[in-house]
């Protein structure tokens, strides 16, 4: 089932502990079409947690860029878990996947110049946007799992 809510007993541990009961996890097939489920889950989440539209827009962007990258380029055939959590100061978004090791926080992944559009790498633009729109990024590789956590100050 696409976009299935992860049950409480199997919710992933966040790299950043925001000490909150407001946490939702979603299990997504590694397909670009699952982006609909990502947006749907975010719309549901922000129904009970109203934020400024521009902040919600940024969060949607971050989630799209990371999810599309993982679904398109990680090589995983297993479901990707998206977790969203918040407290009064921070919102945390975490992606867990079983794809190839990939640390988006590394500087050598950076696109430094998009003026030559022949050199734009698929996914490179997206990671740059995530870096610039987030306050902090965390990455951990544990066993065969990538854990990528994005922190946004509210």
């Amino acid at each position: 089932m696409s976009g299935a809510i992860v049950t409480a007993s199997s919710k992933p541990k966040l790299l950043v502990d925001v000490k909150t009961a407001h946490q939702v996890s979603l299990s997504l097939q590694p397909k670009v079409t699952e982006l609909e489920s990502v947006f749907g889950a975010l719309d549901d989440y922000f129904t009970s947690f109203p934020l400024q539209t521009i902040k919600i827009n940024n969060i949607k962007l971050i989630c799209e860029e990371v999810f599309i990258n993982i679904a398109s380029h990680s090589g995983t055939t297993e479901n990707i878990t998206l977790t969203i959590a918040h407290n009064e100061d921070h919102l945390v978004i975490q992606f867990d996947d079983q794809g190839l090791p990939f640390d988006p926080c590394r500087d050598d992944e950076k696109i430094t110049d998009i003026s030559n559009i022949d050199d734009i790498k698929i996914g490179g633009l997206g990671i740059e946007m995530v870096k610039k729109m987030s306050d902090e990024l965390f990455y951990q590789r544990k066993g065969n799992l990538n854990h990528f956590c994005i922190l946004i100050k509210l």
Partner: protein
């Protein structure tokens, strides 16, 4: 998140305008690429993306704009963006260097720019 694309061709100005309504994201960017491939012919000198009703754009959307720019540059043409909403402007600003894209706050600014170009061509 969906995207509606209306196109308008101005033969006199050799210009085509795509009016984008909704979301230009990983699910809809291919639709825009197809539309540009189908409708932008070699006699068009200016391709305009009117973004007045565009609520959301991601890197997939920006890539579509840049791919359209590449197509137009090959034939000596240009791409212009008009009426961007603040959140759309912000995304383009985050991407920093925007090569060769003409940016206009509204249709009036675009018309003024195109009139100057046409006047230059007539003087030559």
């Amino acid at each position: 998140m969906s995207l509606s694309i209306q196109s308008e061709y101005n033969q006199e100005k050799a210009l085509i305008t795509f009016y984008l309504d909704g979301s230009l994201d990983g699910l809809t960017a291919n639709d825009l690429d197809s539309k540009v491939n189908e409708e932008v012919t070699s006699n068009i000198e200016t391709l305009v993306f009117d973004m007045k009703e565009l609520e959301y754009i991601s890197s997939a959307g920006i890539r579509s704009v840049l791919i359209a720019l590449k197509k137009m540059k090959k034939c000596g043409g240009r791409v212009a963006l008009t009426n961007r909403q603040p959140q759309i402007i912000k995304v383009f600003e985050i991407m920093a260097a925007l090569p060769d894209l003409k940016l206009f706050a509204n249709q009036k600014e675009l018309d003024g720019y195109l009139d100057k170009i046409q006047a230059k061509v007539k003087d030559q």
